[in-house]
Amino acid sequence: MVQTSGNGLGDGIFLWHSIVNVANPAKGLARLILRDDDIPAMHPTPPLPTDSFRDITAEFFEASEKLNVGQLVKDPYFTLLQAVGALEARIMDPKMDSGMLEAEYESFDALQPRLPEEVVGIMDQLLSHEMAWHMGSALSQTLFTCLYIDRLLSSSPKTLKETTFASSAEVEADTKERQLLENVLRPYCLALVKCCYCVNQQIMMEHIYEEEDFVTQTYNVSLLDSVEPNEVLNLLDDALVWLETSKDLYTEGIFNALKYRISHRRALLHDLSRETEEWHTGAVPEWDTSLELLGKVEITHKLGIPVSEAFSTSVQRKLASQVPPRPIVELSFEDAISSLKKLCVEGKDMLKVLKYQGSTNLVNYFLSFMARRPSPSPYIRSLLQSLFFKDMKILGVMSVKQVLFDDVRELCNPVELLLDPRNELVEAPHDPRFDIVKRTNWFVERAGRSYLDLFRNICQNRSRLRRNLCHAILDWDSLQVESEEIDSELRELTKEDAQVTPNGPSYSFPLSSWVYLYKLRQMEWIILLGFELEVYQPHEFAGMYWYLQHYVRTKIGHIERIRGFAALNPKLSSKQKKKKVIPAVEQQQKALSQLTFYLLEASAIQELSGAMINAYTALARLDLLKKPPQPYSSDSLRYDLRMKPFFTIGCPEVVPFDIFETLVDNPETQTLELLEIASESITQARKDFDQLSKLDANTARVVLCEDAFRTNSREMLRSCIGLGVAVAVLTKALKSPGGATNETLDVEIDKARYHPSFPVPSIKNKKQTPQKKR
């Protein structure tokens, strides 16, 4: 898959710049970036070539004159599309030529005395800029517009000593005002730049989508790349010492405000500059300290006086970039604080994954972490990927095989022989265990990649996750077919006995069963995300819930099949089982309890989506859903579009449109009857969700994310209750003399108060009495 992004129509075509991550060459996520903005790193500006140029002005102008209007002399490989790209940068046009900006930064005096209140104000402005960058704005519109930062970085310093506020012509002066700037503001600025360096490095290490999520571009400006974080931390310590000795100069409020800001920056840089390996080996985080100090920064914000002249877009005049001048991005201080607080909370929370509690708990943590609203920031999402998988190790200590086999065991509980680590010690080629290892190793190699991709996909932004899942299910579909073959071979090697069923002999197929369940889950997520991301319009809801129910039902059938086989291993008499706790029995109990949990969860969703189908079908029949005009489309074309990712999936298949329509519309059933069925399903769904929400964290495999699980269950329950009310109102209206029509009812889809994947129609009676006329 190739991502091309943004406005790089220009000569990006010559300069395809791929940032395919070498450490994680996951084919599904390779990023190819087609953008001029990314070029400077590859093109250090050469000095102006002075010799070997020949003046051709006169001849050139003369030959141009001879052309007719509209005639072009051009490179045959240069297309109109590229020419349009070039129009983005029209030299001498003040709107497009950043070179036309006044060089305000040249006249800026970074050592002009500032009130301590102003220094606090500048620090807070900087914090807003930093977070605006974290949230996806370019450095050229945020931090780099700060003229203090510009002064420190514009000489491309290699050491901290070279970073100075003074310009070359300045006379030395040692006033208290100047010391405040040099001993407090300067360390703060440098630490902030170093924080940005660390964040940028982390983000570039993992799969995050440029432009969509984050702008890594630094316009050839070095973010103190060659300075060690420790040096900067020391500088902050010196700043704190200086503050203590100068305490008398300031009011207590201002003194504290300055101290909190420096201390907070110190704690933040401390954690941001950590290598992933340090987290893996148990580094103690300071996120809590950051958070606490951030609260104090917030309280003292009102003491600061912002200095607007310290920020200017004029720096864009010298940044290596093709984009036209762009305005400063303003993020309010409140928003900046809350997003940084969130970053600290999540930075701390994700360290939980390092305490491995089984693969299912891990998957569930990822799912719930990424479902947070608002979504975790690109930095956090990138860090979570690194924590999870780095240098071919999961969580820094485990092989892919270990976790993958855990996952298969936790779900399918296959015969012990299949995944027994002792098999690997067998060297005799005629031993069946030798052949088993050969095949399971193939599976690790093949499924491992898909499994890792799954985690990585979950760490993408929600829209991207859905898109990637649409591709991933094809991969899992072929993986399923391949695994079925391997399963058949393994069945011979493990000498599995067939189970006799009414449909003939049946075998466990543990590996492909595992694959199939993950495939079904991902198909289900695609539909759920379709609702969450508002891809579907209300008049499509009934149909899409039908598919959700269809996939969940298929899943239920499959889980029951897995459960049947999981119960068979180990083959012990009940007497043997009772005698002592055998690990194999424990393993079996775990798998069975997990499958039971999955069944309960699936049944709840099945009932709720059933109720949704009937309720939305009833609304459609009564013409209460606003269906937008679709002059160039039809229901059948849209259906093709919606189901496109699923068409090539072998099992379950997509239903032909005409059959689908009848299945959803259910024309044999009266509308009132539909509502009655919906109401029954809601009652059942509520029972199921109630039961789910009462489960302990161990049973639900949410040891790492219990709160999120509870919240999710609550939201599901709320959707059930909301839908129950809607169905009741609609039933009552339908039975009333006025009927249920657009004249008597107001129908709106309420997305805010319910589970994001289960929006509920809010149905209100219109006032029957004539409105007061004004």
Partner: protein, 107 residues
Amino acid sequence: MDDSPTPSPFLQSFISQTLRITTTDTRVFVGELKCTDKAKNLILSRTHEYRYPAASELAAVVEKEKGTVGGVKMALKSRYIGLVVVPGEYVVKVEVEDGPLKPAERY
């Protein structure tokens, strides 16, 4: 890509050559010519922008280097700006690079 013959073989010979363009505001642009027309509008690709130092900066350097014999040296400020259009009305000077190798062969 079209195969129609060029309206000006002379101008065509500069296509894909490295040009050095001076504009009315004294900036210099060095890039490969991709397209031009009657109004001398130039599309340059892989362009770098060069700028002479401001008078104030120059003065500062002169001050600092006071006492050294001979003139002061200052590098031109430059940056990469990629694909740009230079409108003909601002073009003061056009120069072509006479390198031993054609630009196309350098990459």
